[in-house]
């Protein structure tokens, strides 16, 4: 008997639920549609400029002659130096925090500090890099200054990711090593790190893939508008792929916009490769304990 009273409101409630579910699904569809449109727009504009010549020529005032050679090589140099700087320090800091640091307020401050640094806008790192590396330490507008700045930018992320990887190593492994008389460092070096390494590498590769797309800090360090040569030493001036994209996008001619789109395609391919590598490493070497 009370079923009749419930039925209409039940119908209404179910209908509201269906509408809501459709809305939520629409949100997800929105994201997917936007991504597809963005990629389609970039491909449509830039595909015609992609060629081996595009990769091997230097930028030029004439669109038909322009290429991204100095930008790609600059980005590679930047990645190499950034990795060389941030990987050891990031992993070192993570090892310290997980294995050595006493559980005091000082360590907690260190931890919070790292979390806060991860949220600082990249342009503030650019300001820091400009003041310290370009001016104070006198490295000038060079690859080295840029790499150190980007290194500081991604350091918090590497530390956090490495900490997670080290935390995941079971205590039993450490205990076993101590049990046969290993010192702390021996344990870490021969037992903890090898197991944590795939996770650490994944985190590092993902951080580097973020660094390769960074523009703002490097503009502050030294975006000269015209660079038609690759760096041959860390103290050389440079340009990177995102800065080249920025320069071309800011020009009024449609041809340069299309060149920018082609450069974007190259950048996206590199990013995709790096992310695929990171995921491959993570999946392949995940459960080895």
């Amino acid at each position: 008997m009370s079923g009749e009273r419930f039925a209409p409101s039940m119908r209404r409630r179910k209908r509201t639920g269906a509408i809501f579910q459709a809305l939520c699904l629409a949100s997800i569809t929105f994201s997917i549609v936007v991504l597809v449109i963005l990629l389609a727009d970039v491909v449509a504009d830039g595909a015609k400029w992609l060629s081996v010549d595009f990769l091997t020529r230097y930028p030029s005032r004439i669109p038909a002659r322009a290429g991204i050679r100095s930008a790609i090589l600059g980005s590679l140099w930047m990645m190499g130096l950034t990795a060389a700087f941030s990987f050891p320090i990031g992993v070192g800091a993570a090892i310290y925090l997980e294995e050595y640091a006493p559980r005091t307020w000082l360590t907690r401050i260190l931890q919070t500090n790292i979390a806060n640094l991860a949220g600082v806008p990249s342009i503030v790192y650019g300001i820091l890099g400009l003041a310290i590396f370009v001016r104070f330490l006198g490295f000038g507008r060079s690859v080295l200054a840029g790499a150190l700045t980007l290194g500081l930018l991604i350091l918090p992320v590497i530390i956090i990711a490495s900490q997670e990887a080290i935390k995941a190593v079971p205590t039993s492994l450490r205990e076993a090593a101590y049990g046969v008389g290993a010192t702390k460092w021996q344990t870490i070096r021969h037992h903890v790190l090898p197991v944590a390494l795939p996770g650490i590498l994944t985190g590092t590769i993902l951080s580097l893939s973020r660094a390769i797309g960074e523009t703002a800090p490097l503009i502050m360090i030294g975006a000269l508008t015209f660079i038609a040569f690759p760096p041959t030493s860390p103290l050389d001036p440079f340009t990177v792929l995102p800065i080249q994209i920025f320069n071309w996008t800011a020009k009024p001619q449609a041809d340069f916009h299309d060149l920018a789109a082609a450069a974007i395609l190259v950048l996206l391919v590199v990013l995709l490769a790096m992310n695929a590598l990171a995921i491959f490493l993570r999946n392949r070497f995940q459960t080895r304990i």
């Binding site: 005032r61 190499g80 390494l197 508008t225 038609a228 041959t232 009024p252 001619q253 392949r284």
Partner: protein, 311 residues
């Protein structure tokens, strides 16, 4: 292979490959035999010429690395006098204060004229009313404290649409020159417009807004002439549009102006810099018109070369 070994191998391979790739593109001396670097900075108006010269020069001399920046005429001089650059692009002559700053560092700048520019006042193509403006009208729009925000305030019979203003920022020689020539006093300008050191931003801005008004170097107008309209300037002798002829003859007044590069003896002592400067002047007759400016006469270019000839 264990996970650890593979991981280490992957990491090492990644880092090892980088310098190899970089070395592959390294600068070798090549045919020219010249090596070294040339640092140029300064005016964004002169930039297209310097960029073109730098590009052609580096193709001929792959061992030399030329960088060109756009810090603005004023910014360029500051770096030049501080010894940070070898050549300074300038769209106005060097000021007394700048000469003194250079002298304080033992630098004596040598002025070389490279081209003529007709500073162009631009409008959007949809703007079919402001095809000609007098110097006085321009002054009223651009002077400091100007409250003109609509076209009808300039001339009553013009539409009542908003004026969107675009122009260079204060480090720019174009800014200095325009304010001096139009407003009557250097650096005297209203400040509520879109100011950018990057002329491309100004071109995009004027192209996009129907009621816009802006000013920049002739080359930037030429490059996008199909999307921009020029405003003829009436200096009392009738409306004159900027063009090769009017700029060369000086009838496009008061906005025809010479453009310079400044060099210094210590830099010229380096073979790559000397070669670059010679290349600049020698190739100016072809590159300057290609970029969109007006070249000097053969004789005038020869005079410039004489200024830097080794004694």
């Amino acid at each position: 292979m264990s996970g650890r070994t593979t991981a280490w191998t992957a990491l090492t391979a990644m880092i090892a490959v980088l310098p190899l790739l970089a070395c592959g593109g390294g600068g070798d001396a090549g045919a020219g035999g010249l090596t070294g670097s040339v640092a140029i900075d300064g005016s964004s108006t002169v930039f297209p010429i310097s960029e073109a010269v730098a590009e052609e020069f580096q193709i001929a001399n792959p061992g030399v690395r030329v960088t060109v920046g756009i810090s603005g005429t004023g910014g360029g001089f500051k770096k030049f006098c501080a010894g940070e650059t070898d050549i300074s692009d300038a769209s106005r002559p060097i000021k007394e204060t700048e000469i003194e700053a250079c002298a304080a560092n033992g630098i004596e700048p040598i002025q070389l004229s490279v081209a003529w520019d007709g500073l162009t006042v631009v409008r959007n193509p949809a703007n079919d009313w402001a095809t000609c403006m007098t110097v006085d009208e321009l002054k009223r729009v651009w002077q400091p404290g100007s409250s003109i925000t609509r076209w009808s305030e300039v001339r009553p019979d013009w539409p009542d649409t908003e004026i969107e203003l675009y122009g260079p920022d204060t480090d720019s020689g174009t800014f200095d020159y325009f304010t001096e020539a139009i407003v009557g006093e250097e650096d005297a300008s209203r400040d509520d417009y879109t100011a950018s050191a990057d002329d491309n931003v100004l071109v995009v801005g004027v192209e996009g807004d129907a009621g816009s008004l802006g000013y920049f170097g002739f080359a930037y107008y030429e490059e996008s002439a199909d999307k921009l309209g020029a405003v003829a300037v009436d200096n009392g002798a009738g409306c004159v549009l900027p063009s090769r002829e009017t700029i060369e003859s000086g009838t496009y007044a008061p906005l025809s102006r010479p453009m310079f590069i400044y060099v210094k003896p210590d830099a010229l002592a380096r073979p790559e810099v000397r070669a670059f400067v010679d290349f600049y002047i020698e190739n100016a007759p072809t590159l300057v018109p290609e970029v969109g400016y007006v070249p000097l006469t053969e004789g005038q270019y020869a005079e410039q070369l004489a200024k830097v000839a080794t004694p």
